[in-house]
């Protein structure tokens, strides 16, 4: 293990080759954005809604690929992301419809998650069966596949992430108020459903940006675990969001470096485990703050 330190160090300091550096940058940017958005998401008590949203992207990815295949277009990330967004919105709509029946919100989330995911797998296996000659590589979206990430992909994450952060900055006051006291926000004339929709749109943004890095199964961890960790350290929302972003960014950076140095380590799971480790370590360290 000792002999690996130089390689890990090289990756951490972006000297392990251009591709590894790109992945590090992309993963850190994703972690930052996910931590910030996740803070608002968890305070609004919608943590697992993101799980449904993430799983619901899969059929859209597959359909977008099939559509571009039918039109004779090459595989393009923006098109796949558009498909993912549309099917995630359909999933969100389905959750909200089902949550109004007597099965309740958690069952609605679980039902939509498994159904959309199942449909996605059906489409993925259909694509595999078509033997298009073109490498679909859509399985990478399940658990992330950083190896094939291009400069353009990282560009999408950085620019998209910046837009999401900008939106959060613009909306942070109403979002915080609604999360804290929905009733008061309503009385003050805030359109609560519209701000909730905006929050979900930002979460969807994070999910789309995370498809390649950690994949749709594990992206929910980047949204909730750093936020939960930050919550242990501070009682102030602004500090919490920044800290969660920092934790996510560091986990992304270190996780991507580790997997660059040790090629067998899959990036997404490593990043997720790092954030979880941060959460576990923080519990005893912050004990005094909660007493």
């Amino acid at each position: 293990m000792n002999s690996l330190w130089p390689e890990i160090w090289a990756a951490l300091t972006l000297r392990a080759g251009p591709n590894a550096a790109l992945v590090c940058l992309g993963a850190a940017a994703l972690g930052l954005v996910a931590g910030v958005v996740g803070s608002f998401l968890t305070l609004r008590k919608r943590a697992l809604m993101s799980d449904a949203l993430a799983h619901a992207t899969l059929p859209g990815v597959g359909l977008a690929f099939l559509a571009s295949l039918a039109l004779g277009l090459p595989r393009s990330l923006p098109v796949l992301m558009l498909g993912a967004a549309l099917s995630a919105l359909a999933g969100l709509w389905a959750v909200q419809r089902l949550a109004r029946t007597r099965i309740g919100q958690d069952a609605a989330i679980g039902a939509v998650l498994s159904t959309f995911y199942g449909a996605g797998v059906v489409i993925l296996t259909l694509i595999q069966g078509l033997r298009t000659g073109q490498q679909a590589g859509l399985e990478g979206f399940l658990l992330g596949a950083t190896a094939g990430m291009l400069r353009a992909d990282v560009g999408v994450i950085v620019i998209g992430g910046a837009l999401v952060l900008l939106a959060i900055w613009a909306l942070h006051r109403p979002l915080a108020l609604i999360a804290f006291d929905e009733g008061a926000a309503h009385v003050m004339g805030l359109n609560v459903p519209r701000f909730d929709a905006a929050l979900m749109a930002l979460v969807l943004g994070v999910v789309l940006l995370g498809l390649q890095v950690v994949g749709l199964i594990l992206i929910v961890a980047l949204l909730i675990t750093p936020a939960a960790t930050a919550r242990l350290w501070t009682h102030r929302l602004g500090t919490m969001a920044l800290l969660a972003g920092a934790i996510g960014a560091v986990a992304g950076w270190v996780g991507a470096s580790l997997s660059a140095a040790l090629p067998d380590l899959p990036t997404g799971p490593v990043i997720v485990l790092l954030t979880f480790a941060a959460l576990l370590i923080s519990i005893p360290l912050t004990k005094g703050r909660r007493a």
Partner: protein, 299 residues
């Protein structure tokens, strides 16, 4: 395809899917009514590291070892969720989400690092299941159905799922009354002196058992879908618990059979070259049944 081909290639996986669907839907009813539906989602994720662990320790797909590992993983997850809720005062959803993603990540990591993937188990199997590969090679003749030696070569998953379903059905039948009372009114159950904690843990344990047995055979999607969708659809159709459970089993069976047939033959009927994931199709079918129930229910 001849009838004999059906016996060898389609009947065993269909039967396994059917048994798995029934075994998951049964405890799913109680999870749903106790507002613990997402526990099914969590369980089917956390068992992965346990199954991998059992696999690595024994060096092969030994069922008892994988079951023990999965049970261990489920216990560890329960302890972690409890710790995060109690010590860190996190919301139940956050505690659950953080735990199950971390444990699933651990399972994937262990799979990738161990090279277990090269042998029998890989991430794709964990996610999709390998329903289509559970075939009965030795069924070359109809006499196979009455020859003990040939019957013994049926996929072991078939026996495992049948045993699991039988056990769960027996437990559900035996403990029906206390389960109903506990699920409806925990305070009353306690004042009757019922072992509330034990029964609650029993429901989770039953769901875990179903999930573990099903996971190895049919993958995580089908497990989650069957734990949640058929009971939810049945919930929308009736105001009585007995009929709800019965109806959920009917929906689960219908999902399994229709889904399997659609997955195996649907693409052929459309003129496409290959079949698609049966597990995925079964999950989709159960979702469509739920959607139909929700539209019909309208409230």
């Amino acid at each position: 395809m001849s009838a004999l081909d059906f016996l060898a290639f389609s009947a065993p996986p269909m039967l396994i899917a059917l048994l798995a669907a029934l075994a998951c839907a049964l405890p799913g009813n109680f999870l749903l009514l106790r507002r613990q539906a997402l526990l099914g989602d969590a369980i089917s994720h956390v068992v992965l590291p346990g199954i991998v662990l059992g696999f690595l320790l024994t060096g092969g797909a030994s069922t008892p070892a994988m079951m023990a590992g999965a049970a261990l993983a489920a216990l560890a997850a329960a302890a972690l969720i409890e710790l995060l809720q109690r010590s860190a005062r996190l919301d139940p959803g956050v505690a659950m989400g953080a735990t199950f993603t971390a444990m699933f990540a651990l399972g994937v990591l262990a799979l990738e690092l161990s090279g277990a993937g090269a042998v029998h188990l890989d991430v794709e199997h964990a996610l999709y299941g390998n329903l289509e590969s559970l075939i009965w090679f030795d069924a070359t003749d109809w006499s196979a159905l009455i020859t003990p030696a040939t019957l013994a070569t049926l996929p072991p998953e078939l026996f495992r799922m049948a045993a699991t379903l039988a056990l769960l059905a027996a437990l559900c039948w035996l403990f029906w009354r206390p389960l109903v009372i506990l699920t409806f009114d925990e305070g009353f159950a306690r004042s009757l002196g019922l072992p509330v904690r034990l029964l609650s843990a029993g429901i989770v344990a039953a769901a875990t058992l179903a999930a573990v047995a099903a996971f190895a055979a049919v993958g995580s999607i089908l497990t989650i879908a069957m734990l949640i969708c058929p009971p939810a659809a049945a919930r929308l159709c009736t105001h009585r618990l007995g009929p709800q459970v019965a109806l959920s089993l009917v929906f689960a069976a219908a999902s399994a059979l229709i889904g399997y047939v659609l997955g195996g033959y649907g693409p052929l009927w459309l003129g496409l070259p290959a079949s698609v994931s049966a597990a995925g199709m079964i999950a989709t079918t159960s979702g469509l049944i739920l959607a139909t129930a929700a539209l019909w229910h309208k409230r």
